[in-house]
Symmetry: C2
Subunit: 487 residues, 2 copies
């Protein structure tokens, strides 16, 4: 009927009902899932995407495009609806469609997941260099529509910078934007698709800028005496254009946790602590990881420049062992969440970004909002924070928070919602961005107007109406928010 393979098996529908946010996990674990798609379709070609959309548009069926389903903002969640809802899983659109080695451009079907994309490029000696924490399970098209940033965005750029061309298909139109190195031919329409979260069309194909596979990767760890020293050092590294590929600065609480975990395995723990105190590194210390990728000569030169600046910030080197651990575990942290839930601890993350001059204030305010969010319940919330994606003009702040689960899963979700509401409200009030790389989805949508203004929202709505006049495409994300977070 839809012109492509369709599944209505309960397992398939369940597996495509929600993303990977904490409330999604809680609901899926407890079996209290409010809505499922009526079917899951898997188009094998762009023509099949087009045909599915035409039929759904005609029949008044909502379509949720699905890449890896790893959204942590409610970006793929199926809601109760008066209309039927199908999920369009793009996993069959996952081929390497073209490789232009001269121009270092590769074109992929948008449904390809991280590991397969990197394997396909590695066979030819290239990499994309886009490694979000969801990398193992998330898709190229998903990265594009959420404006994803990977752990090495410092060296390889955000997905925004990597996209040279793309194709989207919508119920009432399509865009085929050829790869261009630079252009002044009107506004850059690719940038409208980046961040559109499925509202403007289904991304079927993406041409990305690729680079030679680096020969080596090194991550050096340093402790800096205070958060101020750490922030000043990261900013100095950025503003001196040291070609690092990764920088991650943990605040004192996150550093304490990292040190506790790392040093617990070391027989020399107390000696190390004493040495650090002598060097001026106490409880206010901040862990800095600095990564570089390339050939050994470039790595050596870059680290020399970086160490010079880090020493000026009173940094004490911990060598490359903590970095090796980080590289090994870089995609594992999300899995810890399930283990913590088993012992009664819920954890989730949220993030923002702002100019350097505002970051101290933003961190203080958001941290305070999260810590105090469950005061009326008499529950405490623990907060860790790090800077991961720095730029010459500012950086992201990434918060991890922990709170106790309640006996009733609904109450646990209500606690989570209270924290998210408090944090998001504070982020908006502080003038920081609602998200640096998680996107808007359903959960941040109520605050979008505070960031881009009512006319910004009107512009996005006019584009959605042009491409999808009956609003069948993922109609509950980005615009037209349902409520200030499901309770």
């Amino acid at each position: 009927m839809l012109g492509c393979p369709v599944s209505s098996s309960p397992v398939d529908r369940m597996a495509h009902s929600r993303g990977q946010g904490l409330p999604d996990i809680l609901r899926l674990r407890t079996g209290i899932v409010p809505a499922f798609p009526d079917a899951v379709c898997r188009p094998r070609t762009a023509d099949e995407v087009s045909s599915v959309l035409a039929r759904c548009d005609g029949a008044g069926i909502e379509v949720v495009p699905w890449g890896g389903g790893t959204s942590v903002t409610g970006g793929v969640n199926v809601l109760e609806s008066a209309r039927p809802v199908i999920v369009m899983d793009l996993e069959e659109l996952a081929g390497l469609e073209g490789l232009d080695e001269t121009s270092r451009l590769a074109t992929f079907g948008a449904g390809i997941l991280g590991p397969r994309l990197e394997e396909a490029l590695a066979m030819h000696g290239y990499t994309l260099g886009h490694f979000p924490q969801s990398w193992e399970l998330s898709s190229l098209g998903g990265w594009v529509v959420t404006r994803s940033a990977g752990q090495e965005s410092l060296g390889f750029g955000r997905i925004d910078d990597m996209v040279a061309g793309l194709k989207i298909i919508a119920p009432a139109g399509r865009l085929e934007l050829s790869p261009m190195p630079g252009s002044a031919a009107g506004p850059d329409l690719k940038r409208l698709v980046l961040g559109s979260e499925g509202r403007f069309g289904v991304v079927t194909s993406v041409t990305v800028r690729i680079r030679p596979l680096p020969q080596e990767r090194t991550v050096e760890a340093t402790l800096l005496p205070t958060w101020d020293d750490g922030m000043n050092t990261v900013r100095a590294l950025l503003q001196a254009s040291v070609p690092l590929t990764m920088l991650r600065l943990s605040d004192p609480p996150e550093t304490q946790v990292a040190m506790a975990v790392g040093l617990a395995t070391s027989p020399a723990a107390s000696l190390v602590r004493r040495y650090l105190r002598v060097r001026g590194i106490g409880d206010g210390a901040c862990l800095l990881l600095a990564g570089v990728a390339g050939d050994p000569g470039t790595i050596r030169q870059t680290l020399t420049r970086a160490r010079h600046i880090i020493r000026r910030g009173h940094g004490v080197s911990l060598g490359t062992r903590p970095g090796k651990t980080w590289l090994r575990d870089r995609f594992r942290h999300p899995y810890l969440r399930d283990g913590l839930l088993d012992v009664g601890l819920a954890t989730d993350t949220l993030e923002t970004a702002a100019p350097w001059s505002a970051l101290h204030d933003v961190r203080r305010r958001v941290r305070g909002a999260i810590e105090g969010a469950l005061e009326t319940n008499g529950e405490r919330v623990a907060v860790l924070c790090h800077v991961s994606h720095p730029y010459p003009d500012g950086a992201s702040l990434y918060f991890t928070f922990f709170f106790r689960t309640a006996a009733d899963p609904g109450e646990t979700i209500a606690r989570w919602a209270a924290i998210k509401r408090a944090a998001t409200k504070e982020i908006a009030a502080a003038g920081a961005t609602l998200s640096h790389h998680h996107g808007i989805g359903q959960w941040h949508a109520p605050w979008l107007e505070e960031e881009i203004g009512s006319d910004g929202v009107r512009i996005l709505r006019s584009i959605a109406r042009t491409l999808d006049p009956n609003a069948i495409l993922n109609p509950h994300v980005l615009l037209d928010p349902m409520e200030r977070l499901e309770a």
Copy 2:
């Protein structure tokens, strides 16, 4: 009446009737100017901009926003219209509104011109690094709405990359986008304003990313035996991430002209030629200028890396003298046009960009189209070409052409239009972009649909309608083209 200073002096109206394209100059020189604005207004504040737009919207008056008036695409040209037309000159909105040294961000009124902007930053030790050839006369807001790229875009980026935040005012809305280092809060609306050419609103204020003023600038000149050697060398420099700030590769005809001009002043000309022939450099040689800016240590290191790659491309160094001449004359070339007109030669430029793998073909086809454009008139057209703005995935091609003027200025304009039509048609047919940094304006608009598709045009139109429902803002550029170039 409009709520801000208004001039209706004939000189002011004449000076604000057209940009700086060849047909504009020809018309202004001969006094055959088809249309003038009815008045020129000069708002002194964003509130005055808002008030002017509200009154014009209510009264059905068209408004052409004016920065420096240096458009070479008909971007500010006043056309005959059934409605009154005023030009809004933004020269009064030209202050440094904020300087955040920590975040390296500076906010300016959008009407500020290049030299004043750089002076204001230099007082604090910073630079924007945006030097289009029009720099002396063009404005920050103009750079933004045309997606300008400066001569050092390789090192400092396009204006697209420099803009961190901005404000626009439209008849039916406004956007105030705070500076953010990176964001995933929906599509990046700044990118809609970039390239909007005044159709979506008047840019009143822009926050740009700034950098420390470089201590020194050096430009080294090299001759490469062939165009292939040159292109491969530029591509290798880009793909090896050598941190140069400028690269410019002239094709053999442009190199011949440059050498003739340069060597004419040298008593050793014939010796030099003989030496170059021995080194394999003949008539097919291409001149490469490679620039770098920064502290002496960085410059030295960068040039060492660059020379290594240039030698692999069989380059023969000409030292830094030709580069010094280029630096001295970098903003002078447009003035030559008037002198050439006086001796009966018309000259203009056009440009495009494409991925590396397509550039040979694009150059051959566009050059052929220009050379043959006046065949039916029995007139020849001379064409020079260079690569100026290279990227890892491609580069721009910049064409300069020369043809004889006719006794009748109208016929000279017709010749120009025949060349532009032939070149633009060929650029579109070759799949290259209509413009790398000049914009769309009135003259490229008829081909925009070929580049971005009819749905791309529909999207832009829906945004224009949302912000300017009565289409009073610069209504003859970008969309809704009048004709395939005025004849």
